[in-house]
Amino acid sequence: MIDWMAFLIVFIAALIAAAAVVGLYALGLRLLVTAGRAPLVAPAEFTDAITVMSEKKRLREEKRVEKAVRKNPLTPAQRMIARIGAYACFVVCGGAVVYGIYLIIPLFH
C-alpha cells in the first residue's frame, strides 16, 4: 500500500541529478584551474556568514592566481584542451538542468 518504490525512485533520481550537476560543475572549475584560468568571483555583498574579503585581500588573491598561472607546467595546447573540457562540462551541466526541467513539465509530453 505504501509505495516504497516511489521513495527509492525519488532518492535515486535526485541523487543522480544532483551528483551530475555538482560533479560536472566542479569538474569544470577544476579544468579551468588546470587551464590556468582560476575563476575569482567576489561576493556580491558581504555578510558575516562569509569570510570577508577586503579589497587588499582580493588583490592578493588575484596575484596568487596569476602566479599559479605563470607556474603552470602544462603546454599551451594542453591548457587549451583543459579549457575546452571545462566549457564542455559547463554546457553539459546546464543541459542536464534544462533536461530535468523538461522532464517535469507535463505540457511537453
Binding site: I9, A14, L29, V33, A38, A44, T47, I50
Partner: protein, 393 residues
C-alpha cells in the same frame, strides 16, 4: 445557499492569504544560502525567487491533484466535506504559519496546512473522514523521508565538490567559481518551490470547488486558480522572509560557495523529483536537511545541533498545533453561521495582532544583514590552525 457561496469566497480569500504567507515563509529556502555566501544581493535574490516561484507554479500540478483528490475522502462513497470545514482548517494553518514566522522558525507551511485540515475534519466529521493510508504514503512518510534524502544527497555532493576541486599545492582552487553557479542552483530551488508549494493552495481551492459541486471530482485545478495562486505566492516571496533568512543562513551552519552549491542542487533535485510523483513534501524541511547534510560533508564544519534541534521541535509541533487550531475553528464553525463569523473575526484579529507585534522590531533587507553579522559570531567552526590565525587577523 447564499451562505455557502460566501464561505467559498472566504475560503478562496484565506487560501490565497495562506499562499502569500507560504511564499513569505519560504523565501529563505531558496535564497538563504546564496545570500549567506554572497552569491547574490539579498534584494536581487528575493526578486529572482519571486519570479521563479511564479513560473514554477505553472509547470506542474501533480501536487495539487494529490491534495484535491485523496487525503480527505470526498465524493459519493466518502463523507461530505463542507467548505466551512476547509475554512476552519485554513485558519489553523494560517495562525500557526504567522506564529512561527514571528518566532523566526522555518516551520513547514505544508504541515501547517495538513494539520489544520485534519484537525478540522476530525472535529467536523469524525475519525473516518481522513484517509489515513493516503495521508501516510503521500504526506507523513515523504515528510520524514525527504529531509533525510536531501541531507544524504547534499552530504555526498558536497564531498564530491570538494574532492574534485581539492589542490594539495595551496594554489588557487577556483572554488569561488561555485558562487557564480549558486545563482543557477538557487534559482532552481525557487522554481521547484513553485512546483510544490503553490500547488497546495490550488489543491485546497479545487477541493472547495469540488465540495460545492462547481467542479467535477477528479479534475485538476482550473486556470484562474493556478494564476491567482501563482501570483499570491510570488508576491509573498518577494515581500517576505528576512527574519527566516537570518536563522537558516547563518544560525545553522556556516556556508561556503561549494557547499551552498551542493546543498541547493540537492534541494532542487529532491523537490523536483518528488513533485513529479505528486508527493506534497515540505520544501522547508528539504532545504534544511540539505543545509545540514552539506555542513557535515565539509571538513571542519560543525552543525550547531542546538539550533538544529530547535528547528526539529518546530517541525514536530507544526502538524498537531495547526490541527488543534483547525479543530477549534471547526468546532465553532459547526455551530452555524454565527460560529463562522466568530471564526473569521478571531482569525483576522490574530493575523493583525501578530502583524502589529512584528512591526515592533522590524526586520527587512536594510537591517537583516546587521543581524546576520551579530548572530554570525556565535557560529562554531573548527578550522585548521593555520587558517584560524588568518581569519583572526
Amino acid at each position: 445557499m447564499e451562505i455557502t457561496s460566501l464561505v467559498v469566497i472566504l475560503v478562496i480569500a484565506f487560501a490565497l492569504f495562506f499562499d502569500f504567507t507560504n511564499g513569505f515563509h519560504d523565501t529563505a529556502n531558496a535564497m538563504a544560502t546564496p545570500i549567506a555566501t554572497g552569491a547574490m544581493k539579498p534584494k536581487v535574490a528575493v526578486g529572482v525567487a519571486a519570479i521563479l516561484n511564479l513560473i514554477g507554479a505553472f509547470l506542474s500540478t501533480e501536487v495539487a491533484r494529490t491534495i484535491s483528490g485523496g487525503i480527505i475522502r470526498e465524493g459519493d462513497e466518502g463523507v461530505l466535506i463542507t467548505p466551512a470545514l476547509i475554512f476552519a482548517g485554513l485558519l489553523g494553518a494560517i495562525v500557526w504559519n504567522m506564529l512561527t514566522w514571528l518566532l523566526g522558525l522555518p516551520s513547514s507551511s505544508s504541515h501547517a496546512l495538513f494539520g489544520g485540515l485534519i484537525g478540522a475534519a476530525l472535529v467536523g466529521v469524525g475519525i473516518h473522514s481522513v484517509d489515513f493510508s493516503v495521508m501516510l504514503s503521500k504526506v507523513i512518510l515523504p515528510a520524514l523521508v525527504a529531509p533525510v534524502t536531501a541531507g544524504v544527497i547534499a552530504f555526498i555532493t558536497t564531498r564530491m565538490a570538494y574532492a574534485l576541486t581539492r589542490r594539495y599545492d595551496k594554489k588557487a582552487d577556483g572554488r569561488s567559481g561555485f558562487r557564480f553557479g549558486q545563482i543557477f542552483t538557487s534559482s532552481l530551488v525557487a522554481l521547484s518551490h513553485g512546483t510544490n508549494d503553490a500547488q497546495k493552495t490550488m489543491g485546497i481551492i479545487t477541493l472547495t470547488l469540488i465540495a460545492v459541486g462547481s467542479q467535477d471530482i477528479g479534475t485538476g485545478p482550473q486556470f484562474w486558480v493556478i494564476l491567482v495562486c501563482a501570483l499570491a505566492i510570488a508576491l509573498g516571496t518577494y515581500i517576505g522572509g528576512w527574519r527566516i533568512i537570518k536563522t537558516l543562513g547563518t544560525g545553522l551552519t556556516e556556508v561556503k560557495p561549494a557547499q551552498g552549491f551542493a546543498a541547493e542542487a540537492s534541494t532542487a533535485a529532491t523537490i523536483l523529483a518528488s513533485s513529479h510523483l505528486g508527493f506534497a513534501l515540505s520544501t522547508t524541511q528539504v532545504a534544511s536537511g540539505s543545509v545540514i547534510g552539506s555542513g557535515l560533508g565539509r571538513r571542519g564544519s560543525k552543525v550547531r545541533w542546538g539550533t538544529a534541534g530547535r528547528i526539529a521541535v518546530g517541525w514536530l509541533m507544526t502538524l498537531p498545533s495547526a490541527a488543534i487550531v483547525g479543530a477549534a475553528a471547526a468546532f465553532l464553525a459547526g455551530i452555524g453561521p454565527l460560529g463562522l463569523l466568530i471564526d473569521t473575526i478571531v482569525g483576522v484579529a490574530v493575523i493583525l495582532g501578530i502583524y502589529l507585534w512584528s512591526r515592533r522590531d522590524k526586520v527587512d533587507h536594510s537591517n537583516a544583514v546587521a543581524d546576520v553579522a551579530a548572530s554570525g559570531g556565535a557560529v562554531k567552526i573548527t578550522k585548521p590552525r593555520r587558517k584560524k590565525k588568518k581569519a583572526k587577523s
